[in-house]
Amino acid sequence: MVHIYFSGIDLGSTMTKVVILDGDEKILASVINHTGAEHRRLANKVMEEALEQAGLPFDQISYVVATGYGRITVPFADRQITELTCHARGVSSFFPDVTLAIDIGGQDVKGLKIKDGKLLDFTISDKCAAGTGRFLEIIADALGLKLEDLGDISLKSSNKVSISSTCTVFARQEVISRLSEGTTVEDIMAGIHDAIASRVARMVERLRTGPDVLFTGGVAKNIGVVKALEANLGCEVFVPEEPLLSGAIGAALLGKEITLKALASGEPIQKEERRLDEATFFK
């Protein structure tokens, strides 16, 4: 097989993810970086970093698909595809039998009903910070904890508190009240994770067809939320090795399909003018 390469770039609200795959769908490079305020400049930087990791020049990449919240600000992409489609494709590549995927990112919560790798239905919550990565950031900040430590801390709880506020602002206040009453940080965090999980479980209820659930996005790195989801959903919750990359991998795989289809029909691959070095398009 000729050497062909595909890249997927997923510009999330909080993190930007890039992968480069070869024709056999092997991951040659993956880069994860904070999105920050300057999306556009960063998209270039992470792509350059990924190319360096893969040892490839940019013109060797047959197809670049951008996805995620900031996908329209990726100037060097050949196509933009919605994150729902890319996520569905990505998670199916890890677990071909997946029927329900939950993705919790920095600013949204998604549930995807999938069959044979295709997206059948979905639910999304992106108008409210409740239960998103942002919610956990704010709670971690109120408790003076690091985001990555929340999961392990919550597992030490023996008596989780009930958090009655859904709203992030009010939940933060509630957490501070519980602290001042002497409730332990473990019990508070267990309560917070349970609050997130029960909300998500209600959201995805109508999408469930199979026994198991796949969980991706940054919040899937939090073992406390994983365990709380298992308790609320009453099933096993699987997390892929790198839960942040499913959107970018799905994007790259969709790029491969588009390319192979074009090659098979003998058409030239549709590529808009694309040069990484000209991609700084600040006006």
Binding site: C128, T168, V169
Partner: protein, 257 residues
């Protein structure tokens, strides 16, 4: 002689009045702080001092508000919507609706000619629907709460907030600041967003006129103007924050059934 006290412990500010025959003899406001019981006690002592009365002169005390849990000297705890309706009825007897915008919730009540609540809707699960949203944005802009309403009226190009969420709104405000958008445009946007949430609440119950506004939101000319733009003309009492405390005192004056 009979005097009565109404105390409203809000999430941010505690308010109290002493009344005689339904007229305010003394009033006081203070920050609620973290100890609501202490705020209530301080408020009561200050009210008595201002009216030159002693505790024995007070016939009955009614308490209400977010922090009205365990105030030991309360003779009766009353829901704030009842107090608000009573208070507004005293100031504006013709009012058939009142919008109460507080620091942590908003509520809309339809009332009859005696100040009884006929129908109501409450928004208390989302900070975006309360005065808290304004506080958060004022904080981003490093402005005092009392200054944001007037400044918002100077905007010619209000910013659109993409969601009603106060957390996402805060991030959006920070982004707009970094883009160099003037403060007044950001403020006009947040007032418009809050007015939109309040308008949705009014529509749940159905607008009745005349309509009054109370709570801290009644001090904010920016919010009032945005509600006017949505077709809601408002009666604004001279001290909108005191309405619930006044209503509580009036309920205290009523004979116990």
């Amino acid at each position: 002689m009979a005097w009565f006290i109404g105390i409203d412990i809000g999430s941010g500010t505690s308010k109290g009045v002493i009344t005689r025959d339904g007229e305010i003899e003394a009033y006081h406001l203070l920050a609620s702080g973290v100890n609501y019981g202490m705020a209530a006690q301080t408020l009561k002592d200050e009210l008595l001092a201002r009216a030159s009365l002693s505790a024995e002169d007070i016939t009955s005390i009614v308490t209400t508000g977010h922090g009205d849990g365990i105030i030991p000297f309360s003779n009766q705890h009353v829901a704030d919507i009842r107090c608000c309706a009573k208070g507004i009825n005293r100031i504006f007897p013709s009012a058939r609706m009142v919008i109460d915008v507080q620091g942590q919730s908003s509520q809309v009540m339809q009332l009859d000619d005696r100040g009884q609540v006929i129908n109501f809707a409450i928004s208390d699960i989302c900070a975006g629907g309360s005065g808290r949203f304004l506080e958060i944005i004022a904080n981003v802009l490093q402005m005092k709460l009392e200054d944001i309403g007037p400044l918002s009226l100077e905007s010619e190009n209000p910013v659109t907030f993409t969601t009603g969420c106060a957390v996402f709104g805060e991030s959006e405000a920070i982004s707009r600041v970094s883009e160099g958008i003037p403060k007044e445009d950001i403020l006009a946007g947040v007032h418009r967003a809050l007015a939109g949430s309040v308008f949705a609440l009014v529509n749940k119950v159905g607008l009745k006129e005349p309509c009054a506004i109370s709570g801290g939101g009644g001090l904010n000319i920016g919010l009032i103007k945005r509600l006017n733009e949505l077709g809601i003309q408002l009666l604004v009492p001279p001290q909108p924050q005191l309405i619930n405390a006044l209503g509580a005192a009036i309920i205290a004056e009523e004979p116990v059934v």
